[in-house]
Amino acid sequence: MTKREKRSIIPVFLIFASAALIPLVDTGYWLSISISVVMYTVLATSWTLFSGPTHYISLATAAFFGIGMYTVAGGLELLPFPFLVFLAGIIGAILAAVIGLATLRLSGVYFVIFTLGLAEFIRQIFTWVQTTMGTSSGLYVLTDITESIIFWELLALAMLVFGLGWWIGRSRLGFALRIIGNDEIVAAHCGINTARAKIVLFIVSGSIASVTGALLSPRWTYVEPGIAFSPMISFQVVIMALLGGTHRLWGPLLGVIPFTLLWDVISTFFPNQTTLLLGISFLLIVYLIPNGIVGLVEKIYSNWISGNREQFN
């Protein structure tokens, strides 16, 4: 562990600890918003674990998320909830492994659209199965799990994701991935098993998305394919991560927090133009903050450092 990492442990710990207190302060609206923030933080950060270093844009988040939801919704009457959450992670991992093995040859936009098509395919299959075999269009998830509990579960998951991200970053795997991201051919020549590295990370990210879906299932009460596999989830995760910045572990967090708040302010004050204004704010951000929020923060930080130096000199 480097000195810098040691120094940052305490603030990180403090941030998580104070976040954990939110449900004790407010169990209403701010908790709801916090759940949105943590949910998208987990999804966007785990997405970045894979897509950040490899530059592979995956639109399959909704597929994993939906499968997690359905694991809980479908098995709730048979198995205990914690086991189902675990099971969701396993199923997500298996699915990710299959996708990963199948898509090795794809690159660039082909991978993007492939994952989108795959997510839609899974949604169609779930719809069809439920139509032909089920008795109702959705599954009821009637539990006594409150929003506070869901928030703590998600927060713990977020801690796990950040811990994992930090560990991968300093491991051989992370190093290998960075080389792949810079130049896959060079990486292969260095003797890196590029395929294995990519698949491992895709499994991690898919499995986390599944667990997130599983944890949120009780909050939605009624799970339907159209809602659980909504492609908007995939798009929103990608957009938040990209706007935050994908070359830092905490980048997506900086995308998620301002966006959730900004979107909320817009939908509060302009209920009739919500979608229009979301679009406009989106465009403004793309044009005015070209390198994501991380880029902006780093620029301010480096300006500040150099400014201080000038004063001292």
Binding site: Y110, G117, G279
Partner: protein, 288 residues
């Protein structure tokens, strides 16, 4: 036989949905996530002319298409061009254009909701049976199919037989080298983007004859178009047309012979298989 005709009609519909995006993505290299909203805007245009002036959608095509061309030209010049200029590489442009057009799609949905309202729109035009080989088909579908054929043929000839078409192809294959041989690359890109938008809006106008639409429905068309374009191979317009028809046939065959509930699943399965075995699409030559 029935399957062939219905598949053909559906394929024509899909071709109309997808060739606009092929021009925008394959040639102008902008992955336009607002493509479906443009299509819906075309539908609204046709609907508005039909309901306020009793103007046939087949005639309002001649108004909607040029309007969409100008509109998309402006979008390219003022919204996309800055992104192209500042992008350091292809990947950067791809990310930026995804973000920007995603925002645009929200704006379009918001605008159309504000102007027309959020409810469903539908009107009856040429809703009569047309007998072909002892089977009846909707005349409006046949009309849309003919529009699609006209567009496909015209574009095909234009791209493969004219000077401008040649420059378009050159830019699609190698934008950097195209500049070296004296092609005005920025203008060609803008032309391709605007043309793509015009074709998409024309598609929307003809689809509105038989599809019920609302302001928020665009994303469905965007996804379909993306899949057809990728399936056909991004660079080749004929590949996209052929893959649109393949998809039309497969969906109709599955709906008729197996179960209508599996049509979309079959479409995505087909797409996944094609990409697995032919990663650059059916007619994609080389890596992007």
């Amino acid at each position: 036989m029935d399957i062939v005709v219905i598949g053909l009609l559906l394929g024509g519909t899909y071709a109309l949905i997808a060739i606009g995006l092929q021009l925008q993505y394959g040639v102008a290299r902008i992955m336009n996530l607002a493509n479906g909203e443009l299509l819906v805007a075309g539908s609204f245009g046709a609907f508005w002319f039909f309901s306020s002036a009793q103007l046939s959608p087949l005639l309002s095509l001649f108004i909607v298409t040029p309007l969409a061309f100008v509109f998309n030209w402006l979008i390219y010049q003022y919204l996309i061009r800055p992104l192209v200029r500042r992008a350091k590489n292809r990947g950067q442009l791809e990310v930026d254009s995804i973000l920007a057009t995603f925002g645009l799609s929200f704006i379009f949905v918001g605008l159309m909701t504000a102007i027309f309202g959020g409810e469903y729109f539908s009107y009856s035009y040429l809703e009569q049976p047309f007998n072909l080989l002892n089977q009846s088909y909707g005349l409006n579908r046949i009309a849309a199919f003919l529009v699609s054929v006209v567009f496909c043929v015209a574009l095909y000839i234009w791209i493969n037989r004219t000077q401008t078409g040649l420059t378009l192809r050159a830019v699609a294959v190698a934008p950097e080298s195209a500049g070296l041989v004296g092609i005005n690359v920025p203008n060609t890109l803008a032309l391709a983007f605007a043309l793509g938008g015009a074709v998409t809006a024309a598609g929307g106008a003809s689809l509105s004859m038989f599809l019920t639409f609302d302001a928020s429905v665009g994303v469905i068309f965007t996804m379909k178009a993306l899949i057809i374009v990728i399936m056909g191979g991004v660079r080749a317009i004929n590949g996209v047309i052929i893959s649109a028809f393949i998809l039309g046939f497969v969906e109709t065959a599955v709906a008729t012979l197996i179960d209508p509930g599996l049509t979309l699943a079959a479409a995505y399965l087909l797409f996944i298989f094609i990409l697995l075995f032919k990663p650059q699409g059916l007619f994609g030559g080389h890596a992007s």
